[in-house]
């Protein structure tokens, strides 16, 4: 089956006066239609940068996609014209941001914000677009008559529903959900996720679900990729990764979760911090924090190793997994 999204060797840099931030480093990732891929990692791992890159929305002059390719449904996103990009954004690929409080324009009514998107992409009349906006609001559980209301008149959870309605208004093929529930209360989180799950299943939308919560990944995703310092260090199905996490970093993430089934006395946080993205180590990026670090980890950057369809970027698997290969 053709992939909906294929990213190869992506490199994204941010430049400031003196420093260069290596936000995404030789990242490979792909996504099949109708699948939900969970992307986990700490704050600063480059998750949002990756999502913005998919929309070719890295803003010059500070940010630049330096290398690699991103293809969406077979088309090269990075070589699209401005016009093609605008047609793709919002229509084929939609994005939900982390903070619903700031994601909506305070001076436009929520109906207007949805309707203008529909108007732009679907070739409808103004009335039809508004009708669609009201339908979308209804779908996410907001009464149609509230479409004339402004964002400040909604609560946080309601705003995120509006954002979801906005993102799904044009039936996108791919949804980039960037920590869609992080800013919400726990009870509201569950409601919003339920809603998203239903809508996604009904539409057959592929989703890149960005989060730092493994719990949410387990509940919502088909596949999972662990991101660390701008690269994917482990990739597999939910069963593979949650069954046996291979990469020491992923294991660390699991270790720092409370587990009710085991009588663990203390959580085991991963020692240290993410490496400074302006000065990444020459070898494995995780080596300074890795409990299993070896000599080779300092010297050589690991390649993807295929362990039965389960990819891991770690020297520990050099012997077992056969030749290193690219995903």
């Amino acid at each position: 089956m053709e992939k909906i999204l294929e990213i190869k060797d992506l490199e994204v840099r941010y430049y400031s006066d003196r420093k260069t931030v290596r936000a995404v480093n030789g990242l490979d990732l792909d996504l099949s239609p109708g699948k939900v891929l969970g992307l986990v990692g700490e704050t600063g791992a480059g998750k949002t940068t990756l999502a913005l890159s998919i929309l070719n929305m890295i803003r010059a002059p500070q940010g630049k996609i330096e290398a690699g390719s991103i293809s969406f449904a077979g088309k090269d996103v990075l070589s699209m014209s401005k016009h093609e990009l605008r047609d793709m954004r919002g229509k084929d690929v939609a994005m939900i941001f982390q903070d619903p409080m700031t994601a909506l324009n305070p001076v436009l009514s929520v109906g207007e914000q949805i309707a203008e998107t529909v108007l732009k992409h679907e070739g409808l009349t103004k009335d039809q677009a508004w009708k669609r906006a009201e339908e979308m609001l209804l779908t996410v559980g907001i009464p149609a008559e509230r479409s004339k209301d402004y964002p400040h008149q909604f609560s946080g959870g309601m705003k995120q529903r509006v954002v979801i309605a906005l993102a799904l208004a044009c039936n996108p093929k791919l949804l980039l959900a960037d920590e869609p529930t992080t800013a919400l209360d726990v009870t509201i989180q569950a409601q919003v996720l339920d809603l998203m799950r239903t809508l996604i299943r009904d539409n057959g939308t592929s989703v890149l679900f960005i989060t730092h919560s493994l719990g949410l990944v387990a509940e919502n995703c088909d596949e999972v990729a662990t991101m660390y310092a701008g690269e994917i260090v482990e990739y597999g199905t939910i069963d593979q990764v949650f069954g046996k996490a291979l990469h020491p970093y992923t294991q660390g993430l699991f270790g720092s979760l409370p587990d009710l089934s085991e009588a663990t006395k203390r959580l085991k946080p991963i020692p240290g911090l993410m490496p400074d993205p302006t000065a990444l180590p020459a070898g494995c990026f995780f080596e300074p924090r890795c409990p299993y670090a070896m000599e080779v980890c300092k010297a050589a950057h690991p390649k993807d190793i295929d362990v039965g369809g389960h990819l891991v970027k770690c020297h520990l698997f050099d012997k077992e997994g056969g030749a290193g290969r690219k995903a």
């Binding site: 929309l55 929305m57 990009l85 605008r86 047609d87 793709m88 954004r89 919002g90 229509k91 939609a94 994005m95 941001f97 903070d99 700031t102 994601a103 909506l104 324009n105 305070p106 001076v107 436009l108 009514s109 203008e116 998107t117 732009k120 992409h121 402004y150 400040h152 008149q153 954002v163 906005l166």
Partner: protein, 332 residues
Amino acid sequence: MSKYLLRRIFMLVPVLFGVTLIVFGLLYITPSDPAQMMLGPNATPAAYTQMKADMGLDKPFVVQYIRFLFGYQHPIFGYKGLLFGDLGRSYISNRNVFELILSSFPNTLILAAGALFLALVIGVPIGILSATRHYSAWDMVFTVFALLGASMPVFWAAMVLIYTFANNLRIFPAMSNPRDFMSLVLPIVTLSMYSMAIIMRMTRSSMLDVMEQDYIRTARVKGMDEKVVIFKHALRNALIPVVTVAGLQFGQLLGGAVLTEKIFSYPGLGSIMVDAIYQKDTPQILGSVCFIALTFTIINLLVDILYGFIDPRIKSTFGRKKAKPAAARSRA
């Protein structure tokens, strides 16, 4: 909304009361002697005392102030008081103080409105251009111009314009009056320079601020054209602090027209006030300053109301305390 308005109008009362007290107090301590002025240098002491009593200047401050507000009965120097819109006659021209103010105020209004209009029409688009082409050569050029405009003394700018366009190029006259459009050009340009600079810088910084906001990213992610992003999504938000600044500028323009009017010999309220100050014409000074302060305060109130119309967050919370957008406070 109407409750809020009533409250705001009610709050004006103590402020205006304070303004009259300050202005009256200032003139009370002025070392001028209107009685002496009326009589000339050769008056007898008896005539002088009589004149002082007639003018009501022999009474203590409080009495004089109350008379100033509520009126003073006297066949020659009597008046109905500030609260009834009557401050009697000018010591110099013998015309009714408020009549003179009301006949000259429209002239000042023409200048101030023209200047604000020019400042907005040029300042806002340039501000937008500067912000969207952040750090480009144009941005630099406009920023330098804005700084020059904000630093230039108004009276000097007026003199340079007169020297260039009136004396040498002979395009516009050096003297201005409200009935001749050509003669209004130079004073309006002079008066608008400072406001234009302020509005331009405010628009620019406010735009820059807004363009960094998440909802602008949302609009781009939705596939909106850059034009729509700038003019629909960003501008409406960015204009909120600009409206405040423009309103405040309008008040300052009414007051600041003094220098411009004086230089262009323009028959506005500012000229009348400065002449009254030169001639120590107390009723005229009192009337003019109070009138300008009242206008200024009312304009500020109108700005607040207008504010509600462009910012839905305020419209619905009218009556509660409002938070000014961050951009209005910083990077002015």
